[in-house]
Symmetry: C4
Subunit: 235 residues, 4 copies
Amino acid sequence: MSALLETIARVRKDVCELHAELTRYELVVWTAGNVSGRIPGHDLMVIKPSGVSYDDLTPELMVVTDLYGTPVRGINTGSGGTVDWGNPDLSPSSDTAAHAYVYRHMPEVGGVVHTHSTYATAWAARGEEIPCVLTMMGDEFGGPIPVGPFALIGDDSIGQGIVETLKNSHSPAVLMQNHGPFTIGKSAREAVKAAVMCEEVARTVHISRQLGDPLPIDQAKIESLYDRYQNVYGR
Amino acid sequence: MSALLETIARVRKDVCELHAELTRYELVVWTAGNVSGRIPGHDLMVIKPSGVSYDDLTPELMVVTDLYGTPVRGINTGSGGTVDWGNPDLSPSSDTAAHAYVYRHMPEVGGVVHTHSTYATAWAARGEEIPCVLTMMGDEFGGPIPVGPFALIGDDSIGQGIVETLKNSHSPAVLMQNHGPFTIGKSAREAVKAAVMCEEVARTVHISRQLGDPLPIDQAKIESLYDRYQNVYGR
Amino acid sequence: MSALLETIARVRKDVCELHAELTRYELVVWTAGNVSGRIPGHDLMVIKPSGVSYDDLTPELMVVTDLYGTPVRGINTGSGGTVDWGNPDLSPSSDTAAHAYVYRHMPEVGGVVHTHSTYATAWAARGEEIPCVLTMMGDEFGGPIPVGPFALIGDDSIGQGIVETLKNSHSPAVLMQNHGPFTIGKSAREAVKAAVMCEEVARTVHISRQLGDPLPIDQAKIESLYDRYQNVYGR
Amino acid sequence: MSALLETIARVRKDVCELHAELTRYELVVWTAGNVSGRIPGHDLMVIKPSGVSYDDLTPELMVVTDLYGTPVRGINTGSGGTVDWGNPDLSPSSDTAAHAYVYRHMPEVGGVVHTHSTYATAWAARGEEIPCVLTMMGDEFGGPIPVGPFALIGDDSIGQGIVETLKNSHSPAVLMQNHGPFTIGKSAREAVKAAVMCEEVARTVHISRQLGDPLPIDQAKIESLYDRYQNVYGR
């Protein structure tokens, strides 16, 4: 039991601190973005509380939920007692259902990030995938960054759109149409890295295309870059 | 009486501190933007002093005015004395008349913000509303961000333009032609949030349109997003 | 004599500190921009030393020169002695000749700023003036921001181009062709403000024009804005 | 021997600290950029470790390698002993082979920098050189910034492309096609300055070209600017 409590404390700390990368790289304004992390070995996840400023986040404010997004405010210690935690006044992020759907359907995923980062969202508003014309895109995404369907918040539509798009792609990022990017990773940190790199390539390819057509990279060379970066290079 | 003084002190502190959000999100340069807040239950408001750098703002420098923009330098305590406050050398922002007009004509408004934030002002210079092509625009603005008339400073023209444009719109933001955005909210903080989100969507839709046409969102879906965010979601 | 020394110390401190506004508003990279200030009542000026990082500037490192740009390393105290100051190893900015020319030919100018700020320099590279399509441009510049001639460094060509362009304009900013903006003001602080506002309007008008034509403002209304801001408003 | 150890300590400190300029000027995100410096008089270089955040860099973490990119973990003191240094768990940057190739083939080079800075990479993605239309480009680059070939990581292709492109150019920067800029300098600091200026001119010329054609500068005037800046001006 104490192992679980320690794990929850560690994931809460990680998830809390990783939000600072969203602000550092200007992927979010106000409270409009969130990071979550899976509690390994349990059907639990940790996510940003709704409506709390990034400046005010602390590990203790991170909300623990089950994989359907229902807050779990305490845990049975197995000896008849419970350990309470969490602030019952705080709701999990309004995007929790989408994160939870991903964890239920992609067991290899340990972290999920959602932002409305400017350039990625601009591609998403046109419903246009980002073509793979940079070697760093080959490394990180192994091809284009795909577009997911338009989906309204309130049920599993967003989660389904994310999972169906990503399961057929090397890319850890999907641009949900008219909405913004969701990214995944083996850990919350890897998902944050994918969110940072997604915006970086969205911006660079956008700027390149403003004055002409970027040169394509052969698919074989993209695969070579991706294989080396993911395997040989040890990521 | 002491309740009013406490309220004034609280609003001054809030209004002062909220200017830091304008600089954090780079909505303003030099001294070119201002926040105001209503003193609830009184025909008074608090606004940034004119010409003072954001670095140098303190709660005590915030200017209290009546709802015609005339500074109120002290208040009758009701027992024959007065309590003085405010620095008689400081004038309220040169935009005070516009803020005051809004408070007189929109009793539900508790805060007003004016900036020349880059992308919103760029749309304003073309006299072009920002189309609602992002789910976060549906949430926050419930439709396009409208354009108000060209108006010169010096009388009630700007205030009238703001009120007439906003009273027919879900949007808490108006782009005054060739000038820049004004935003409103139930509180000064909500008005600042609207200013931040206005620039964010102005930038994202601009960038999206640079390389093609963003996909429209059905009006019914926009209404659904707005209703949920404003009502169900509890904003 | 001590009055002059005090004045020099004050101007050195002001000029030194104002460089922090160039970096704050991202008008400069590395060491590529400089502020100068006139020593009132004397044929002397203070300017940034060449090649010193903005992080390392101190008042004592600011170089005092005559109005031909020759460093003045000490001053005759009038009683047969001299007071030395300044670091003889530091040269004044390579742009000193242009600043000095302005002080010689525009006695009302108390400060000069040169940057290569991105958007202003982009207009300068096309040799295109910035049209007055924003009310804040009417306030601050009273019309378009004009372009000065192409001129090579090394003689008075740059200074002549600045003075000849600005003497026929309300604008305190000139875009030297293929080079970048120079701005003037009654004080070094006013010249820095003009540099900040020049980049702000260069950026905003650029972005507005990317998606169409900004709406023009009548010349009479521009004059009205300018007169009010410069006179009635007390600037 | 102690002179070499002192030199290594100094270069490690310099190389470590110079990474802060990459983040200050937003040339890099996450860990995607690196600085190296030659150990003068020895076939050794110092480079960023792979995968370490810029926040976490210390001089001791900088990896010393020979000029084929093989880590050198200690050094024979000449009296039968060795001095160990370096963290055997850290690999040098994955770009080390390219840096090392430059040091082997360009003996005048003392520092190399690689980034994926946004605007320079955008030109690189189109395989288009940056034309010399700014006086500061004349000063620093003496002409256009050239494009190098598409090359995959894993052998000497990138290094060869850099060297072959730069040896026929005044420019200390090359835009490797679909990849990003590499810059060189007499010292690591000069190479970092070239990386900063490369992005600055890439951005400014991009923005200028968005609304028309920048005016060309005569080749003779470019040569005049370059000669003065590099020679007369003493750089």
